[in-house]
Structures are given as structure tokens and as C-alpha cells.
Amino acid sequence: MKLTQEQQDMLDGKYGKGTAYAMKIQVAIGECFDAPRMVPITRAHVALSNQEADLWFCEKLLSEGAHCRIAPTVNPGFCLDYFTKRDMVAPEFAELMRRTHSAYKSIGAQLTYNCTPYIDTNVPLFKEVVAFSESSATPFVNSIWGARSNREGANSALCAAITGFVPEYGLLLDKNRLGDILVEVKADMKNDYDYHILGMLGKKIGEGIPVFTDLPKATLTKEALRNLGAELNTSGAYGMYHILGFTPEAPDLATAFGSKDPKRKVTITNEDMAAILDEISLEGNRPIDFVMFGCPHFTIGEVQHIAEKVKGTKLKKEMWILTSCHVKTMAERMGFDEIISEAGGAIVPDTCPDQPCWRHLNGKVGVTESPKCAYYPQRRGIHFVIRDLDTCIDAALTGEVK
């Protein structure tokens, strides 16, 4: 790989040991993928996880003097203030979150603690070269905004934020952004939840870049597209997809496929959608213990929808709505936070479902509209029935799910 003088100086340690280490990792990634050079980025998002390896890596870079040239937004761990005040988290895990906060603050990250930066806080422009990790974020910035990011890991995205460069390969290049799988959606797509389920069909869709057709335009909301990307990367590994006649790089079939034939054609039916739900959800018709929303983080529109549904009622079960701190503030300002609190629910900022702050839910059965929310917390002994948003809200009101 050919480096500029500045990049070579970074590698040689003239910008400090930490930057040299970040650059060494990126050069190795670039050489693996035969990248001819490194190109500058203007944004980054780091899927901070508040797990040991993540903290170890960030602290290691920090101790060697690294600092972010491009301040990245970051994923949630859990909200220290909220969970320590309520004594919901063990001291060693509170300490882990405190160290994570401190390390990312010192290294120069924007402490957004939000997994939907592509909606709120870190929205790239068309063709902008960026380094985004987080499974729902990479496909959104590539597919919807037409920006260019490889499917970075949390650690490679942090290296990119430090050096300000990424190796040029994969989805940074026009030829690798073409669709190669035609996915005709014959299933009835009615709401945002249906896109969660569609995204879980990665096994049927297969490896590659899908081009979805027959999706009704009115259903293509930012929430639906957030859900689709999140679940495509729960059921498989997708850096990008196209929606015919909707996403910027797929105005027509010839453009989407680069005038080539798709290598695969897949048809998605209502039966496929029902079958995958059976596979990933606990059986219904049962009492539930709690309801969880916000994986990925809910928008103010979704919070408003819930507030309107629960206004003046009393929930039978706990309801957790996870959002960004921006949405939390907006919910307070607009009165939704008060309505939901009075009903017995809670809007919690800066928090992910796969975190140790949820220990009180161990062994319990929840209901959620998100398969990703159901997937990762399994290892914490938390299991879910998956249903559409309104069915989940009803379950909080009645204590049972259909």
C-alpha cells in the first residue's frame, strides 16, 4: 500500500505511539484487502460496547497517547446515573461503565451513547467517506444516505477516528456497491415492525448486496429502514442493500445491478415472514413480565405513539423505552415522558438491552418488537416474545401477550 508522507509519519511514530499503533492496524487491514492507498474520513461512529476487550483496547491506545482526529459518536453502554441511583447494577459493572466513559472522553469521542447516529447526531452526506461500526449504522449510511463505509468493527472504527484515514477497499469503491441479489418482496409490508421481520431473513436472502423490490413507498420510514439494517446484521452480515426506485444508488434495475444479471433471485412471502417469527420468538398466549423497546434506539415519533396509547392508563407490567438523550429531552419537553411515567413506564437514555444493568430481568419473559433485542440478551437469561409494536403495548397494559 502506498502511503502519503503524513500517513508514513503516523506509522513511524512521529504522531506518538498510540497513533502509530492505530495506523499499523489499519495498514494491516488495508494490505489484507489489497487496498492501494488510504483515504481521509470526515466522520466516524464507534460501537463502544462497555465490554472488557473494548475497554482494554481504548485504554491501551489512550495510554500510548492516542487522540481522535475525527471525534466519533459512540454506541450506548448503560446510563450510569439512572441505574446507580436505583441500585440496579453491581458495583463492578458500574466501575466498568465509569472507566469506559472516562476512556472515551479522554480519547476525544462525542459521548452520544446512541446506536442510531444516522438519524440524529452523525448524518453523512452522499458519497462522503466515513468509518461506521454498529450493525444498524453501516447499512443505513451506505444504503440510505449513499455515504461510503466498510462494515467496520468497533476497534477498526476507533483506529480510523484516531488517524483520520481508512484503507480504500470494499464499499468505498463503486464496483463493490452494486447489487447482486434480487429480492422480490411479495409479503404484505404494513409497518415498521414488518421490516424487522424482513431483515431476519438473511439466511434465505444469502450473502451479497440485496436489491429489494415491491416495497410500498409509504412504509419506507426512517424507523423501518433502521429496523431492516439492524436485523440484516442479526441474521447475516450486510454492509449495504438497495431499494429499487428509492435508495440513491438504485434508481432502476440496470443501475442497481450495474447492467449485470443478479447472481440470485429470492422471493419473500407471508409464509417466510411467519416461519422466521416462529423460529426466533418464544410462543405467545402467555403472561409476560416486562416490555422492552428501543433496540435500536426509538425515535421521538415512536415515543409519541406509545404516549398516545398509554395516556391515562396504568400499565400492569414494566415498560422500558430506550432512546438517545436527545429523544429523552424532547420527550420531557413535549410532555410524553410525564405521560409514560404516570402510566408506569420509563424512558431510559444512553442504554443498550445487552448490558449488565438489566440483571433484575434475568429469568424473566419479556415482549419486544425487535428481534435484535431478543437475540443478544439471551446469554443474560432474558427471553422474549416478538410481536408488533401495538401488540407489545397491549401486553404491557394487560400483562399477557397474544
Binding site: 492496524i25 494491516a28 487491514i29 494490505e31 489484507c32 484487502f33 460501537a47 460496547s49 465490554q51 472488557e52 476487550a53 473494548d54 482494554w56 483496547f57 461500526s133 450493525s135 466498510n150 462494515r151 467496520e152 468493527g153 468497533a154 476497534n155 477498526s156 483506529c159 470494499g170 446484521n233 452480515a237
Partner: protein
């Protein structure tokens, strides 16, 4: 002794017993204190990858879980000695480089016909050579 050319992903040299996985690998679903694969229905379920030459198609799982899984194995000295992969992607590649496991790809297809579980294999990522000893 048979020699095959390959391409460096992550630097280093290692010699150990080969273990071949038909399935993609997720390091999160391995026991850190033994290196044993605990993922259900995985072709290596119940077998340990610790200090072996792991030959596999590719990685799977989120960036977070892949790096954390490999890190936990590292803490216990139970990472594979080296890895031979067919389909590298960014998450696996960065995890291997950061945890300092030698890894190669683009191996001469004849290697895959020749190698068997239990063979002693030497991976020299720095020179792009694999040998079955």
C-alpha cells in the same frame, strides 16, 4: 513436507496441530478457560481451538462479540496459535491483528485437499508460506 503459498493477514509464525472447521467461527461462543466451542450444531462443538492452527471459512457475529471472545481466550492463553481463513472480513481481520494471532488467507487450493485434522502445520504469515510437516 508439503509447502503452499498464502497471503498474510496478520503477522507472525506458528507451528501446531491443525483443526478444521466447516462452519464460520464466532469466538464469543467458546469457553475462555478451555477454548472449547460451545455453539450448538457447530461442526467443532465440544472441541477446543486452544493453541491449534484453526482452519475455517470465515467469521460471524458483531464486531463487539468477535473481539471480546478472542480477548477472553487470550487472557487464558487459549487463542488459536494461528488462523487460516478463506473469506476474511474487516471485523475478523482487525480482531486477529489486535489480539496478535498470525492469520493468512488466499491459500493454494491444494492445501485444503491435503490437510487433515491433527496434521502438524506451520504457518509463516510473514513470508506467505504454509507447510504440512
Amino acid at each position: 513436507m508439503k509447502k503452499f503459498i498464502c497471503h498474510k493477514v496478520s503477522e507472525g509464525v506458528a507451528e501446531a496441530e491443525a483443526i478444521i472447521s466447516k462452519d464460520h467461527i464466532m469466538f464469543y461462543l467458546m469457553k475462555p478457560d478451555t477454548g472449547e466451542v460451545i455453539e450448538q450444531a457447530h461442526s467443532l462443538e465440544g472441541k477446543s481451538v486452544a493453541r491449534k492452527i484453526l482452519i475455517f471459512p470465515g467469521g460471524k457475529g458483531s464486531s463487539v462479540v468477535q473481539a471480546d471472545g478472542l480477548y477472553q481466550l487470550k487472557l487464558h492463553g487459549n487463542m488459536p496459535s494461528a488462523m487460516v481463513v478463506q473469506f476474511p472480513e474487516t471485523v475478523l481481520v482487525s480482531s486477529a491483528i489486535i489480539m496478535e494471532v498470525p492469520m493468512v488467507d488466499k491459500v493454494d487450493p491444494a492445501f485444503y485437499e491435503a490437510v487433515k485434522d491433527g496434521d502438524t502445520v506451520r504457518v509463516d504469515a510473514d513470508h506467505g508460506v504454509i507447510e504440512i510437516l
